[in-house]
């Protein structure tokens, strides 16, 4: 491969200040000149299915929420390549994902049952439990707080000789928080095996990327921490996978952390409580539609005869069944009660907590 991306000589350092992201798959689904996909056919189809799953779940989640059957949640819509491309660069057996809150398919890839994720957004505390062996931390609402935690996790795993890499997600908005800086800098000094996946989807609720920072690219922050940085087309599954795989490889080899910025776009509302039409320029939104990450992979797979209508229908049916099954399961879960206020607050209940629990149970019973 002899294209221009010098692995981890980030584009933003080019003299002309141009910040062209790394691309493998063109919007029309054709490979860039000389590019060689880093995913084999089976992997590609699997990744594509995960992206479709994510999109289908977004739609289901929105409609359930509108019916009052689901809580406020943030769809992945538009960012599927960025999330899935990064996630499939991991080995779920040993690697970890530390999410922000908009990365459902990465959690699924790690083995988190969809039901757990759904329970969380149904407001059930039990959703927070990732079964033992599923290498994920809970979703994070306090923006950027997950970043130093991921560094500690990577550092701790390395210290114990585990051959693990931690992939941690954050948004362009979260990257303005102090925790982003402290985490990247700490990772640099420790050489911790962590990959910071900064999803620049153009928005933090209503705040456009242009007001979030004057930096030409956010990946340009990497040299300030002495770590490699890269800018990648976040709507290009193969580009994301390639760059993140490089970063994961470096981390696994003991060469420390990396910062990867995926340039992508939030196709619509921030969450089910938002109305993006108040602030998202219609023409900007439209300009991103042709770059839809799923359409791009599908076009590619179809052009290589790896996907046809029949397969498409089968995949979508399978996805639909799985989601419906999860909806049924979580809707059948017995509602949580007073015990779920007190369970897991600490190893044991102090006498004061035990009394509060007893009092609450009594007050609920007399209601």
């Amino acid at each position: 491969m002899s294209t221009t991306r010098p692995a981890f000589t980030p584009q933003f350092m080019r003299e002309d200040g141009d910040a062209a992201p790394w691309t493998v798959l063109r919007p029309d689904g054709q490979l860039e000149e000389g590019a060689r996909p880093t995913l084999d056919d089976a992997q590609l189809r699997e990744a594509c299915e995960l992206m479709l799953f994510s999109r289908a779940f977004d739609e289901k989640g929105f409609s359930l929420q509108r019916q009052g059957r689901f809580g406020t949640f943030s769809p992945v819509r538009g960012q599927e390549a960025s999330v899935v491309g990064a996630a499939v660069a991991l080995d779920p057996q040993r690697d970890w994902v530390v999410p922000q809150y908009r990365e459902l398919p990465a959690l699924l890839r790690q083995g988190l049952p969809l039901e757990q994720f759904m329970l969380t957004f149904l407001g059930d505390p039990r959703g927070g439990l990732a079964p033992e062996g599923v290498n994920v931390l809970p979703i994070q609402i306090g923006l950027a707080a997950q970043l130093p935690q991921a560094v500690g996790l990577a550092w701790g795993l390395a210290r114990q000789g585990r051959d693990a890499v931690v992939l941690v997600f954050c948004g362009d908005g979260a990257s303005s928080e102090g925790d982003f800086h402290e985490a990247c800098n700490l990772a640099g000094t420790l050489g911790a095996p962590v990959v910071f996946l900064l999803q620049n989807n153009g928005w933090a609720i209503s705040t456009p990327r242009s007001r979030q920072s004057a930096a030409v690219t956010l990946a340009a922050r990497a040299p300030g921490y002495g770590i490699p940085g890269s800018l990648v087309d976040g709507n290009d599954l193969l580009a994301v996978h390639e760059v993140v795989s490089d970063a994961v490889g470096r981390a696994r080899a003991g060469d420390g952390p990396s910062l990867v910025e995926t340039l992508t776009y939030r196709l619509g509302d921030h969450n089910t409580a938002d109305d993006a039409r108040r602030y998202q320029p219609a023409d900007e939104l439209e300009s991103w539609a042709p770059r839809d990450p799923i359409a791009r992979v599908l076009a590619h797979l179809r052009s290589r005869d790896l996907w046809d209508d029949e397969h498409d229908a089968a995949v979508r049916a399978r996805i639909g069944r799985r989601i419906d099954e999860a909806v049924r399961t979580v809707e059948g879960v017995e509602p949580p009660g007073v015990d779920h206020l007190f369970a897991h607050v600490g190893e044991e209940l102090s006498p004061r907590l035990a009394r509060q629990r007893a009092d609450l149970i009594a007050s609920v019973e007399t209601r």
Binding site: T72, G123, G142, S176, G178, S206, T207, L353, T366
Partner: protein, 326 residues
């Protein structure tokens, strides 16, 4: 008089303060084009321009820190923290910096800064959005902590906050934003800090509350009235400064007291209420002061938050027990 909900009262007050004094600025996450995630700043950007209504990067410490500098430069920043839960990201800029700058500079730099933040539960938000953290700010000498419960108080207290030369943490009851409506004077009506409000007169027992707990107390009082228990409801309105005299008199008048708050019990501001009452009305007390609060557990997810946040039923039960005691 106009009938407004909390949000409308706050929005109108911000608009009027921006118009009244050109030193006033509004800044925060999503306060501009979006008008705030709850629309508290709706329309202000269009009316006053991007110089005075400013969308800030996602960095709470910078929002508060910059407000300190803006105030030092002679302006009057009214910053929004999107939720009080995210004040923690700015905690070091609040107690140790904003609240202390006047003292540190021996009066050279007063800090006419308002930090507005919605807080409190009962509305099924995601994690970290609903915590009642007001007590954590009381130990920030120099900082006023203001907790209006009604639209009229929201207006009057916010006017005072914006016009004060000292910093104010202005905690807005999320639950009441749209639900709580009331008559709001059209004219200027600044309410001095440190004056509680008797939300309802009563003889048998005094419920002390603030913010959204005031409405819970009032509903409990309705229920109890039917049982023949006459309940006074005292709305503290500001925790710092505390209306010691009003509190002590209100409790001494009935000899019995129940404090209600949304925060967990231990070291909630209810403890300070009990301690102040103990100090000033001990000899009038006919029963121990009761506290109705959330348990000492993390604010839970939506499906069980109604078990966590103090309910009318729990307040009623506590009042009954207090009236019987002794």
């Amino acid at each position: 008089m106009s009938t407004l909900n909390m949000l409308q009262a706050i929005n109108a007050t911000l608009r009027a303060e921006l118009a009244r004094d050109e030193r006033v600025m509004v800044l925060g996450q999503d306060v501009g084009r979006l008008g705030g995630v709850f629309r508290a700043t709706d329309g202000l950007l269009d009316e006053f321009g991007a110089d005075r209504v400013v969308d800030m990067p996602l960095a709470e410490a910078a929002i508060v820190g910059a407000s300190i500098g803006l105030a030092a430069s002679g302006l009057v920043p009214v910053a929004e923290l999107q939720f009080l839960g995210f004040s923690h990201q700015a905690f070091h800029q609040i107690g140790a910096q904003l609240a202390r700058m006047r003292y540190r500079s021996q009066g050279r730099f007063p800090m006419p800064v308002v930090l507005r933040a919605p807080f409190g539960g009962g509305v099924r938000t995601p994690e970290l959005h609903s915590e009642a953290l007001e007590a954590q700010f009381v130990q920030s000498p120099g900082l006023a902590v203001v907790t209006p419960a009604t639209p009229a108080d929201a207006k009057g207290l916010l006017q005072t906050a914006v016009r004060s030369s000292d910093p104010v943490l202005f905690c807005e009851p999320l639950r009441g934003y749209r639900l709580v409506t009331g008559e709001v004077p059209d004219e200027d009506c600044p309410i001095p800090f440190g004056r509680s409000r008797v939300a309802r007169e009563g003889d048998d027992v005094t419920i002390v509350a603030w913010s959204a707990a005031v409405q819970v107390a009032e509903k409990a009082a309705d229920v109890l009235a039917e049982e023949g228990i006459s309940v006074m409801v005292l709305d503290l309105r500001t925790l710092v400064p505390l209306d010691e005299t009003g509190l002590i008199e209100a409790v001494a008048a009935t000899g019995r007291c129940v404090v209600v708050h949304e925060a967990p019990l231990s070291a909630g501001f209810g403890a300070e209420v009990v301690a102040t009452v103990n100090d000033g009305a001990f000899w009038s007390l006919e029963a121990p002061v009761a506290r109705v609060a959330a348990p000492d557990t993390p604010y839970p997810p939506g499906r069980i938050e109604d078990l966590f946040v103090p309910t009318v039923a729990r307040v009623v039960a506590a009042v009954r027990a207090t009236v019987k005691a002794g």
